[in-house]
């Protein structure tokens, strides 16, 4: 595969849930080797986009190509083969609660390879060392903090040496120290392992410090695309509102409702 070709290529994608359109004619290209951030207000379908890229849900129309494979044309078996080349970090870590930290990281190796126990141990300890949690190998998921769970999940996501690493809201609910650790890991893993990272987030400040390119989604489309610094000076009210964290703007503060005074003065039974 040509290094210059995009690893993810989305063309004219439409996707709706219960007749409510989430994406209309979406076009996105994600370049290899970069950290790409997908941002947007809550409810714009950022996580849905990840689910589409990973083939967990199917688009209504349009095409999604990941590492040269058209997801719509893939059988389940071929999709599973493709997924072995991807790693995904879920919002809450999604560790298997009945397995220890070590076994969680070893899980993909045990399922997909016939490696010796000694080699599995070495690989797992190497990955745990990379996320700073080799000392927690024997702990159970219930004993870990939120930040530690996410780091273990990250070790599990990279244990099969993926080409593409996907992060779903990796900063939610983290204290500043854990957040700094995750940010540093995203950058370090991307550069040292030579992979491509997609980070879905709405934390403008954090993601701007680590992303190479940003796609800002709103209303089912990409409303802005560029480097984090380009986005700060983007000539669009939607982008200004999102980047500046303004309470009112194209995304209104008030959810659509009947006239305020009319409703206050009406009898309660009329509601």
């Amino acid at each position: 595969m040509n290094q210059a070709s995009p690893i993810v290529e989305i063309r004219n994608l439409d996707y709706a849930v219960s007749n409510r359109p989430i994406f209309v004619g979406l076009d996105i290209e994600i370049q290899r080797g970069l950290i790409t951030a997908v941002m947007g207000p809550s409810g714009t379908g950022k996580t849905t986009l990840l689910r589409l890229i990973t083939g967990q849900v199917q688009a209504d129309s349009g095409s999604i190509e990941v590492a040269g494979e058209n997801l719509r044309a893939l059988s389940r078996a071929k999709l599973y083969v493709l997924r072995r080349r991807m790693g995904m970090l879920f919002q809450n870590g999604a560790l298997l609660t009945d397995l220890s930290v070590f076994e969680n990281v070893a899980f993909p190796l045990r399922e997909h390879t016939n490696l010796s126990e000694r080699l599995i141990r070495q690989l797992v300890l190497t990955k745990l060392q990379a996320v700073g949690l080799r000392g927690a190998a024997e702990m159970m998921p219930a004993e870990l903090s939120g930040g530690m769970s996410r780091r273990v999940a990250l070790a599990r996501a990279i244990v099969m040496d993926p080409e593409l690493l996907i992060y779903d809201e990796p900063f939610v609910g983290l204290d500043p120290i854990s957040l700094g650790v995750i940010l540093r890991l995203i950058r370090r893993l991307n550069d040292t392992l030579g992979i491509t990272s997609i980070v879905v987030s709405h934390d403008v400040k954090e993601i701007s410090s680590v992303a190479d390119q940003v796609f800002l989604l709103s209303g089912g489309k990409v409303v802005a695309h560029g480097t984090p610094s380009e986005l700060k000076s983007y000539p669009s009210e939607t982008v200004k509102q999102f980047v500046g964290g303004l309470a009112d703007g194209p995304v209104p503060f008030h959810f659509p409702a009947p006239d305020y005074f009319g409703e206050l003065l009406s009898r309660s039974g009329d509601l």
Partner: protein, 255 residues
């Protein structure tokens, strides 16, 4: 007219659900041969569903047997045939009470555990994480639990019946003075292989039904606290009704 339409709608909904459950069962059966290759995963589930249910099964078995001994003695002594207590208790337990009560207890103890475990796995993205790791959750998680339940059920029913017979013997022979020789010899003379087979068939069918309902409800639970709670409740209620319905069908087929 509206009532008729609603009735028709609920009937078609129920049939649709039944079709989905049968389709799910076929998927489990299709995946079973590969799952059997990794028997360690299944034996772990036999332990979870079977060994961990043993205490409740044995306790219930002894009490059910004791009640059966007491009621049986009261009835039989009216006709002067209390020596037949062993036969009555054994046939009642092996053919009917053993499989049915075990299945009802299994649904409450192991079925709810299966449904809530799978529901929580879905709610905490563990199922999605497996799919993302290219591991089929049906193959890795659901089938071992299903097969574990199917294998555990007849074993538990056998334990229940044996303990129940000892319970009946305790009340009949020790407390009420029925002759021990008559109790055991009449039982041996009258309980046939066909009676035991009927019990085995029932507990196998109940094992499939209870485990299927539990894993289906858990796997397709709405991924919220309320959804997991609902899946657990439905597991017990649906299992109880299905067990009693199937019990009638199998009894009618055998007799």
């Amino acid at each position: 007219m509206n009532a008729l339409r609603e009735l028709w709608q609920s009937l078609t909904d129920s049939l649709e659900k039944l079709g989905a459950v049968i389709q799910f069962l076929l998927r489990l059966i299709a995946n079973s041969p590969r799952a059997l290759m990794r028997f360690d995963l299944i034996s772990q589930q036999i332990f979870n569903c079977g060994a961990l249910s043993l205490v409740i099964i044995m306790l219930s078995g002894v009490f059910v047997g004791m009640v059966l001994g007491l009621q049986g003695y009261d009835l039989l002594q009216r006709f002067g045939s209390e020596e037949a207590l062993g036969e009555a208790a054994a046939i009642g337990l092996v053919k009917e009470l053993g499989p049915v009560v075990t299945a009802l207890l299994f649904a409450g103890r192991a079925g709810t555990a299966l449904a809530s475990e799978l529901g929580l796995m879905r709610a905490t993205d563990q199922i999605s994480a497996m799919e993302m790791m290219a591991v089929d959750p049906i193959q890795r998680v659901v089938v071992p639990r299903f097969l574990g339940g199917v294998i555990a059920m007849p074993l538990l029913a056998a334990v229940f019946s044996v303990i129940g017979i000892f319970g009946a013997q305790l009340v009949g022979v020790q407390f009420k003075g029925v002759d021990a020789g008559s109790f055991w010899s009449q039982m041996r003379a009258s309980v046939t292989l066909a009676d035991v087979n009927m019990g085995i068939v029932k507990s196998l069918v109940f094992g499939v039904a209870c485990s299927l309902i539990a894993v289906y409800q858990g796997y397709y639970a709405t991924p919220t606290a309320e959804g997991v709670g609902r899946a657990t409740t439905y597991t017990v209620v649906t299992s109880a009704v299905v067990i009693l319905f199937l019990d009638y069908l199998i009894t009618a087929a055998f007799l």
